[in-house]
Every structure is written in structure tokens, then in C-alpha cells.
Amino acid sequence: MTASYRIIDYSLRPAKFAERKMLSEIFSRLKVFASLESYRYIGFGSIWFSDCILFHKALGVEDVISIEKEQAHKARFEFNKPYKGIRLMMGSAADVLPGLDWAHRSIVWLDYDDPLNPGILDDVRTVATRATSGTVLAVSVQAEGLVDKRPHLEEPLEITSAQGFRDCFGDARTPQDLEPAGLRGWSLSKTSRRIIRDEIDAGLHSVNAGRNPGQVLRFNQISAFEYADGAKMTTIVGVFVDHGQNGHFEAAGFRTLPFFRDGDEALRVKVPMLTPREMRHLDRSLPCHDSGQLDLGPIPEADGKHYAKLYRYLPNFASFEQ
């Protein structure tokens, strides 16, 4: 199988870029729990290290761990590692995650290229059962279609029914009301996020049984994204908060973020198709909280509104043009 970094240049994915910036804005508000410098970032940096670079530069996080399973190209990862502070840990997430010190507050972004599978849920559970209050978890999966890759199957099987899902994921992980419609189109991204959230809750439930009331952890969802730079992708992000630190969560002001989403719905990141000149035109009336007040000129309304919503997070195409 080809590692995804060999076919995708991550820097050319504008929606992903915007998502990363929005995540960064979420993470910056974690300072109510502890200074950002004291946080540890755990991610899958690939050979681009875009996430590691951004969170180091924007947040000041110094302890950065990049998990990388492509052992055969270790030298290439080391070569591309931009900062000394980034620790490359070779192995799958399943190998590396349990061995980390989870008493440490962490920003964890499990950014998979694959669609949801049982191994991903196992990783999610590992984090959920070990995370400490103030640790934030983001999980991204592809949402084009689920595939059953159990080794006894002669070839991978598309999962299009609840039964197919059950066969692959097991009873405990199959939602009672799963319909074929939930496994296709954009609905799959919603289903994927829901199953990830259920897994987090199940993991928390098992460890909370042994905790004092004040130490009982909850996963407070902060946002959810979906977009399609190429394949459909979705992300869910939230923070683990113990009962005693609920006030911190409220004080962080996550709820005031324009992309705060604590339910089933996600922010659909659509990168508007605009020329640099059009973008500069729109910039002059931004920020603009009432989209009716936007001076659109000849720009199509939908694109203009998308731009107004996302302009702070979009890559700066204009600078290349000038």
C-alpha cells in the first residue's frame, strides 16, 4: 500500500489548511487549563509536519511528538523534520499511544487518511481512557465510504449496510438505528463522528466508574468539520474536562467561536472560488457580522458569504499572485 504522503501534497489542500487554522484557534483557548507552553502535541506529522509546525509556531508548544508508522522511510522523516523539538516516534498509534505519559496535558490530533475502522476506534479509546482533564482530542477520518479489510476476506468489502458494519466493527460499536443512508454521502461523515464520540464516551464510562465524583471526566465537543479537498474528510474535536474544571471550560469561550459545534452537525468547510482581486474587494468590508451588509460587487453571494465566514483561516493565495 502506498503511504498517503507520497500521493498528496498536504500544503495544497485549502480546506485542510483552514481546518488546521481553526483547530489552532481552539487550542489557543486551552490556556485556561494550563499554559500552552506546558502542553504536549501528539500528531501524525507525515513528511510535511504542517500540524507540528503550526502548533509550535502559533501556540508555542515545545514538546511535539510525531507518530509515524512507515518504518522503511524513517531517514526521510528525520530529514524533513523541521525543528529539533519534534520527536519522531516510529510505530503505529496503537504501539506508541499507550506508552506515553498521559498525566501530561496534551493536544492530540489523530489525523487518519483512512475511513473509520476498528483500529482507529481502538486508538480513540486508548486516548479516552488515559487522558487527563484539559487534554484535547481531535480525530479526522476519511468519509468517502467504509471498507471492511478483515484479513480473512479475499478482497476488501465496501460496507453499505448495518449488517456489513456490524460484521466489521462488532455489536458493541454498531448504533442501533444505523441505516444504509447513514453510510453514504455526507451522512457518513456524521455517522463517523457519532461513532467516534460514542467510543470516547464508552472509554470514559469504563474509567469513570473508578473515579471520585470530582474527577469524573466528560468529553465536551467543541467543533466538527467536514470538507472535500479531494476525498470527503471529517473531524471531531473536543476537550476532556473533569467535574471540578467545568468552570474552566465555560471560561475558555469555546461557545463563542463561529465554528463551535457540540451536536451532530458539522461546519462544512467550502473554499470559495474567488480571484485575488475579488478577495481583496471583500476584505475591505470584513469583519462583517451581518452577511447582508457585505459589499459583494459582482461576486456570487454564496461564495462571498463563505469567504466572509472563513477568510481568517484561508491560505493566502493572493500573495502568490502579486
Binding site: Q71, D95, D122, T129, R130, L153, C168, F169, G170, A209
Partner: protein, 446 residues
């Protein structure tokens, strides 16, 4: 005013009481309970989480005529015998042994009544010597009298060599006598004692069973080179004076379908061994793993051990008889998800190993060769953490990396190609046809 006619005498007869008391306990368990009491004696003499038990011994002898267990583990005094050891149930204020494994409140009497109709207990401490003889038939007939009488009590100074406890049971119940006479039963029992008390044997305690010296069972994990087991240590209730210390060690060992699985050890007592059931999450992990319905022999190299230790034995995840797991305890709930993580990591490795063996064969598998070359088996107690599970991910491969191709074609067509190519197996047909088409398409130059 109490009126005779308004009362029902609900006092159990002694015979009924004895019958109920012994009913639910398996015979092997009753013997283990008595061994536990000896070990608790040893723990009182030499307290601590990792004591040195060298010089202490327990000997067990049983046959169709009787049972005898003797130890030099400190003995217990008249006060203890009177107030605790022979009371039924454990009084609230009973002094407890740190890191205890025994059931002092119930275990001893229950075992004695279970075995036979006559027993003697002799115990000597450094300051006291006493004994007791009980004829159960006589005792049962004397309704209303729940006393046991001491045969003699001596005060004085007693030499270390004399200190200890000896229990003898005679006039065995017929079913017990049959079991005790059976070599099969004895072998099973000695194995049980050996595996349950392995850690105390490791601490130096000598257990003699029917004249045979028991050694601790082998629970070893391989490490060395780039191979290392996962080791995780943590404490529960560490803000109290009786924290529960937990150590998880998970790794690989020899392929053995009978020894593979999780071992759960509470205060040194093995309460689960080679477990591959739901209790240790094996099936649930496996169910989630792609295509692994349950434990499979490809995991016969898996070994995991969880050590729980606590001064206050009530906090440990065992049932009230300290013989099995109580999964509802807080400590277990906090430990279990971590065990799942480590099981999964080791399973991933074992899958990789299995693939490597399938691809190269057992003799040539680079991963298996590296495992055998780099690692040595070490007793699981010797691993101290924390450590991440690791293995040699880039073992030396003989030649370039290969991938196995598998496909099916009609048998008659394969046979005709066998003839045409002059080879004798379907595998050879596959390899030969691949080589031919590869050359035809330009070979190495393409």
C-alpha cells in the same frame, strides 16, 4: 414478656451448620486456604511488599487416611486462636495482616470440617505452645455448646526451631478420602498450589507437597535487543495510607497455547492464570481486531501479567474468598482499559510475526530469526517500568522484500501447466508463470 409459645427456635443444629459451611467450597480450594494461612503467618513474620521468605517452609501431606499441613511461619497464640482463628466469621476488630491473602475468619475451620471428622491443631509461638483436638461427631452431638476446648496451653520461651503450626485431620469423609488417595487429584492440587503461590515461592518460601519440593511456575517474557515488553506502573488511592500499586507487564514468550494469556496476581497470589476470556478482555479485543473472532493459537506467544499489591487486601480486585476476580472493583475498572491497550499492541506484533512466518517460512522469517537471536526469557517479576512495547521493525531481510500472491484457477488448467512447464506443484506453476511474464515484459529493466 417473652413467651415460649411465641418463639421459634431458629438456632441451626451444629450438623446443619457444618454441612452448609463446607458445601460450596471445592476440596482443592480448602487445601489452598490452609496454605494461605501459612503464608499469612510468613507475612506477619517478615512484613513488606517484597519480603524474603528464605528459611520458611510449608509442608503438605495427604493420602486416603489423613491430611497434615505444617509450617514454621511463626505460629499463632492462644489469644488469636480464641478470638479469631476458631470463631466463625471475622470479628470487626480483628487485627489484619498487611498484604494478606488468607481467609483467617473462615478458611481454616471450613477446610478442617470439609476434610474429616477429627482434627488436631498444634501451634507454637516464641512465648506459647498450645494444642486442640476436636472430635466432630462428639462436638456436633453436644448441641448448644459452641466452644472448642484447648487440650493444653503452655507459657514459656520456645526455640525458633519449634515455632510453627501443625494441623492434622483424620477420619476423612469418604469422598475426601477417595480424592486424597488419587494420584491424579494430588498432581492437580500440587500444580494449583505451585501456580497460585508462585510469587511466594519466588520470594524464597519452600513448599513441600507429599515429599516433593514445589518450584515456581515459569512465567517468563522475552526481552533484549530491540524487543521489550510494555510495562506500565501506577497507583490507585495513592493519597491514602493504603495505596494499591499496579504493575502491568505484557509481552511475548515461547509459543505455548496452554501458557498464553493474562495472569492476575493479587498480593502475590495468582487469581487468574493464562486467562484468555472476556474477563481479561481477550475476546472483546479480538472481536474488534479485524478478523480475529477469538483467541487463536497464533497468539500462543502472548504473556501478560498484572500485579496488584496493597497493605489492605480488601482493596484488591478479588472476590471475598480471594480466589477469583471481582471485575466490579474500582481498581480493576481503572486497570482493565490499560490491559486492553497492551493486549492490542502485542497482538499487532504477533500478527506481523505471523505474516512474516507465512511469507518466509518459520526458519527464514527475518522477524522470528531476530526475535530468537536478540531476546532471552526473563522472569516476569524482574521487569520494572515504565516501558513501551517495542520490537525490531527492520530485521535483516534476506534479499529484497517479497509479497505473497495467492489465487485460484481451475485444477485441470493448473495440471496441464504443470505438465507443460515440467514442474510438480501448483505453487511452482504460479512462480514459473510469474517469472515468464516478468521476463517477457522486460524483466529487471522495466
Amino acid at each position: 414478656m417473652p413467651n415460649e409459645e411465641l418463639h421459634i427456635d431458629a438456632m441451626p443444629t451444629k450438623a446443619f451448620f457444618v454441612d452448609m459451611l463446607v458445601r460450596d467450597i471445592p476440596l482443592e480450594r480448602a487445601v489452598l486456604d490452609l496454605v494461605d494461612n501459612c503464608i499469612d503467618g510468613a507475612k506477619r513474620m517478615r512484613p513488606g511488599e517484597e519480603p524474603d521468605f528464605h528459611g520458611l517452609n510449608v509442608s503438605v501431606h495427604l493420602d486416603g487416611d489423613g491430611f497434615e499441613i505444617a509450617d514454621n511461619c511463626g505460629g499463632f497464640d492462644v489469644e488469636t486462636a480464641r478470638n479469631y482463628a476458631f470463631r466463625f466469621g471475622r470479628p470487626e476488630k480483628a487485627a489484619s495482616t498487611d498484604y494478606s491473602i488468607g481467609q483467617f475468619g473462615v478458611g481454616m475451620k471450613r477446610a478442617l470440617f470439609k476434610f474429616g471428622r477429627y482434627f488436631e491443631v498444634h501451634s507454637t509461638t516464641t512465648k506459647q505452645r498450645w494444642s486442640m483436638h476436636v472430635d466432630v461427631d462428639t462436638w456436633e452431638r453436644d448441641e448448644g455448646n459452641w466452644y472448642f476446648d484447648f487440650a493444653n496451653v503452655e507459657e514459656g520461651q520456645f526455640a525458633d526451631a519449634e515455632v510453627g503450626t501443625r494441623i492434622i485431620v483424620k477420619r476423612l469423609r469418604p469422598e475426601v478420602s477417595r480424592q486424597f488417595a488419587s494420584e491424579h487429584f494430588k498432581r492437580q492440587l500440587s500444580e494449583m498450589i505451585r501456580s497460585h503461590q508462585r510469587q511466594f515461592l519466588a520470594f524464597g518460601l519452600a513448599i513441600d507437597f507429599g515429599g516433593l519440593h514445589l518450584t515456581n511456575t515459569d512465567l517468563r517474557i522475552r526481552s533484549g535487543g530491540q524487543f521489550n515488553p510494555a510495562i506500565e506502573e501506577f497507583a490507585v488511592d495513592d493519597d491514602t495510607d493504603a495505596p494499591v500499586n499496579v504493575r502491568i507487564v505484557a509481552g511475548i514468550s515461547e509459543s505455548s497455547p496452554t501458557a498464553a494469556g493474562w495472569y492476575v496476581i493479587c498480593n502475590g497470589r495468582v487469581i487468574l492464570s493464562a486467562d484468555r476470556s472476556e474477563s481479561t478482555g481477550w475476546n472483546s479485543v479480538a472481536e474488534q481486531k479485524d478478523g480475529i473472532p477469538k483467541y487463536h493459537n497464533q497468539y500462543a506467544r502472548f504473556r501478560g501479567a498484572v500485579f496488584f499489591s496493597c497493605r489492605d487486601s480488601k482493596k484488591l480486585p478479588w472476590n471475598t474468598t480471594k480466589t477469583g476476580l471481582d471485575a466490579s472493583t474500582t481498581v480493576w475498572q481503572l486497570t482493565f482499559p490499560k490491559m486492553l491497550d497492551h493486549t492490542r499492541t502485542v497482538i499487532n506484533f504477533l500478527n506481523a510475526l505471523d505474516n512474516s512466518i507465512e511469507e518466509y517460512g518459520a526458519k527464514a522469517s527475518p522477524l522470528l530469526v531476530a526475535l530468537n537471536k536478540e531476546t532471552l526469557a526473563k522472569e516476569v517479576e524482574k521487569f520494572r517500568g515504565p516501558a513501551t512495547f517495542s520490537w525490531n521493525r527492520t530485521p535483516q531481510v534476506p534479499g529484497p522484500k517479497t509479497i505473497k500472491i495467492q489465487y485460484s484457477r481451475e485444477e485441470t488448467k493448473i495440471q496441464s501447466l504443470m505438465t507443460a512447464l515440467g514442474v510438480t506443484s501448483a505453487k511452482a506453476v504460479g512462480e514459473k508463470t510469474f517469472d515468464i511474464i516478468f521476463e517477457e515484459q522486460g524483466g529487471e529493466d522495466q
